[in-house]
C-alpha cells in the first residue's frame, strides 16, 4: 500500500510543468506530472506532484528557476 503523502504544485501550463519537472529532477526531487485534481481547479492541464516532505524545497527550486507557482495543495 502506498502510504506516502503528496502535494501538488500548480503552474501556468504544460510547458511550464515540463520545465518544472526538469528543474526538480536536477535538484534531486522526484516528481510526476498528473492531471490537476478536479477539487482544486477545473483546469484541464497538468500539475506537478511531489512528496509533501519536499514541497517547500520544490517550490523554492522552481521559483529560483523563474517559474511562477500558481498554487500548492496537499492531496490525499
Amino acid at each position: 500500500m502506498n502510504t506516502l503523502e503528496y502535494s501538488v504544485i500548480l503552474v501556468h501550463s504544460t510547458s511550464h510543468a515540463v520545465k518544472a519537472e526538469q528543474v526538480l529532477a536536477r535538484a534531486g526531487i522526484a516528481s510526476k506530472l498528473i492531471p490537476v485534481p478536479r477539487q482544486i481547479s477545473s483546469d484541464c492541464g497538468s500539475c506537478i506532484r511531489v512528496e509533501r516532505l519536499h514541497v517547500q524545497r520544490a517550490q523554492h527550486e522552481m521559483e529560483s528557476a523563474g517559474l511562477e507557482v500558481d498554487g500548492v495543495h496537499d492531496i490525499g
Binding site: 501556468h12 501550463s13 504544460t14 510547458s15 511550464h16 510543468a17 515540463v18 520545465k19 519537472e21 526538469q22 506530472l33 498528473i34 492531471p35 490537476v36 481547479s41 477545473s42 483546469d43 484541464c44 492541464g45 497538468s46 500539475c47 523563474g66 511562477e68
Partner: protein
C-alpha cells in the same frame, strides 16, 4: 550523399534530404505517442508535452535565447514575422528595415504602413551590404523597431545584425531578425548580438520538416506589448474566457504541429551533433569553389560580395544571353541539377542588385552537398555559357 538521382541545390528554399533521425522522431511520435500536448494530462499527453518542450530547449540552446518558455512555435518564419510585426507595432510607430528583405517581412510592413505605421527602407549596396551607420541615421523619435534579415535569401549576403543590435540597444529600440537563412547554418547568439526577437523556420538549415518555425523572444520583449495573431484554446487556464497573458501560451492558440516539432527537435540535434561551425566550414568551402570556378567564365555574372566569409552558401548568377528560367530548366532537364530561378520572393533585393525584373539563377548548398556535385554543376554551367548544345 552520392546515391541520389538528382543534385539538390535548392537548400535555400528548403533543405533536402532530411537526416534519418528526423524521420525516426516523427515516426516515433505518430506511432508511439500521438497525444495532444497539454490537453489532458495522461501519460501520452505529458510525453507529447515533453517533446514540444525539448524542441523549445533545442531552439533556445542553439540561438542562446534566455528561456525555452519564450520560444513560441508556429508554422514557419512568415507566421513568426507576422506575429512580431503585427504584435508589436502600433499606429504612429516608426520601423526601420533594409532593401534586401524577403516579402515575408516586407509585405507585413507594407500592410502596416496602411495602418499608420511609418517605415524607412534603408538601401543596401548592390552586393547586398548594409551600413550600420545608415540604420543609425534613420532613427527618429518614434522609432520602435529595427527589422532585418540575417542573410539574404537571394545572394546570401550577411547583414551586420550584431552592430545594428548594439545601435538599437543604445537607442532603446527592439531588434527583430529574420533568421530563415541562417538558423543552423551560422552561429547565432541572441544575447551577444542584442537580438530581441529571432524569427526562424524549421525546414531550412535546421533540417526539420515544413510547417514548423517560430519566434524566440528576448527578455526585453514584454508579454503585455505583444498582441497575438490569434486567440483560442491553449490547454491552460480553461476556466478563463480571456487569452492567457503568459508565454508561450499567449501566442500559441490551437494544437501545435507536434509531429513536426518532434522532427524539428531531431533536426536541431543533428545539426548540433555535426556542429554548426563544421557545417558552416563545409558550406563555405563549397561556396568558395563555386565562386572561384564561375567567375572566370566570361559570360557568367556572379552577384553579391563573392566572399564566402560574408555570405551564406547561397550564390546567385546569370549567364549572358540566357534567361534565368531557361538556365534552370536546362540544368534540371539535362543534368538533374535542381535550383531556383527568378525573383525568390524578394523584389526589393533584386531591385537593389539591379536584377529586377529578370531575376537570377540561385544555387543554395546544404550540409549534404559535395565538391563533386559542385564540379558537375560548374561543368554544366560552363557548357551552357559557351553555347554548346
Amino acid at each position: 550523399m552520392t546515391d541520389l538521382d538528382v543534385i539538390y541545390f535548392d537548400n535555400a528554399a528548403t533543405s533536402w534530404p532530411k537526416p534519418p533521425v528526423v524521420l525516426e522522431a516523427m515516426n516515433h511520435f505518430m506511432n508511439k505517442v500521438g497525444a495532444n500536448p497539454g490537453r489532458g494530462a495522461h501519460r501520452r499527453a505529458v510525453e507529447s508535452g515533453r517533446i514540444v518542450y525539448a524542441a523549445r530547449e533545442a531552439v533556445a540552446r542553439l540561438v542562446n535565447a534566455p528561456d525555452p518558455l519564450r520560444v513560441v512555435f508556429g508554422s514557419n518564419v512568415t507566421e513568426a514575422l507576422n506575429l512580431a510585426l503585427n504584435g508589436l507595432l502600433r499606429p504612429g510607430d516608426h520601423v526601420i528595415t533594409s532593401s534586401m528583405e524577403h516579402n515575408s517581412l516586407m509585405r507585413p510592413l507594407r500592410f502596416l504602413q496602411h495602418r499608420q505605421v511609418e517605415l524607412t527602407v534603408v538601401p543596401c549596396s548592390p552586393q547586398g551590404f548594409l551600413e550600420p551607420e545608415a540604420v543609425k541615421r534613420a532613427i527618429r523619435r518614434k522609432t520602435r523597431l529595427v527589422a532585418l534579415n540575417h542573410a539574404s535569401n537571394v545572394i546570401g549576403t550577411l547583414l551586420p545584425v550584431g552592430e545594428v543590435g548594439a545601435i538599437a540597444r543604445e537607442h532603446g529600440l527592439l531588434l527583430l531578425v529574420d533568421a530563415a537563412q541562417t538558423a543552423g547554418a551560422l552561429p547565432i547568439d541572441m544575447q551577444e548580438s542584442a537580438i530581441d526577437l529571432l524569427a526562424f523556420t524549421g525546414h531550412k538549415s535546421l533540417y526539420g520538416p515544413m510547417g514548423t518555425g517560430g519566434l524566440a523572444l528576448g527578455a526585453r520583449v514584454l508579454e503585455g506589448d505583444l498582441s497575438p495573431l490569434k486567440r483560442g484554446g491553449t490547454g491552460s487556464r480553461s476556466e478563463w474566457e480571456e487569452q492567457p497573458s503568459f508565454l508561450p501560451d499567449l501566442c500559441e492558440s490551437g494544437t501545435l504541429n507536434v509531429v513536426g516539432l518532434a522532427g524539428l527537435e531531431a533536426g536541431i540535434r543533428w545539426v548540433t551533433e555535426r556542429g554548426v561551425e563544421a557545417i558552416r566550414a563545409h558550406e563555405m568551402a563549397l561556396t568558395r569553389r563555386l565562386i572561384d570556378e564561375l567567375r572566370p567564365i566570361p559570360t557568367v555574372r556572379v552577384y553579391g560580395g563573392q566572399d564566402p566569409e560574408r555570405q551564406t552558401a547561397t550564390v546567385a548568377f546569370n549567364i549572358d544571353g540566357l534567361a534565368a528560367s531557361e538556365v534552370g530548366l536546362r540544368l534540371d532537364e539535362e543534368n538533374a541539377i535542381l535550383c531556383r530561378v527568378g525573383l525568390h520572393c524578394s523584389p526589393a533585393a533584386h531591385q537593389t542588385m539591379g536584377t529586377y525584373p529578370a531575376g537570377t539563377v540561385r544555387f543554395g548548398f546544404g550540409a549534404w552537398n559535395t565538391v563533386e556535385e559542385v564540379d558537375q554543376a560548374v561543368a554544366a554551367v560552363r557548357k551552357l555559357a559557351e553555347g554548346r548544345p
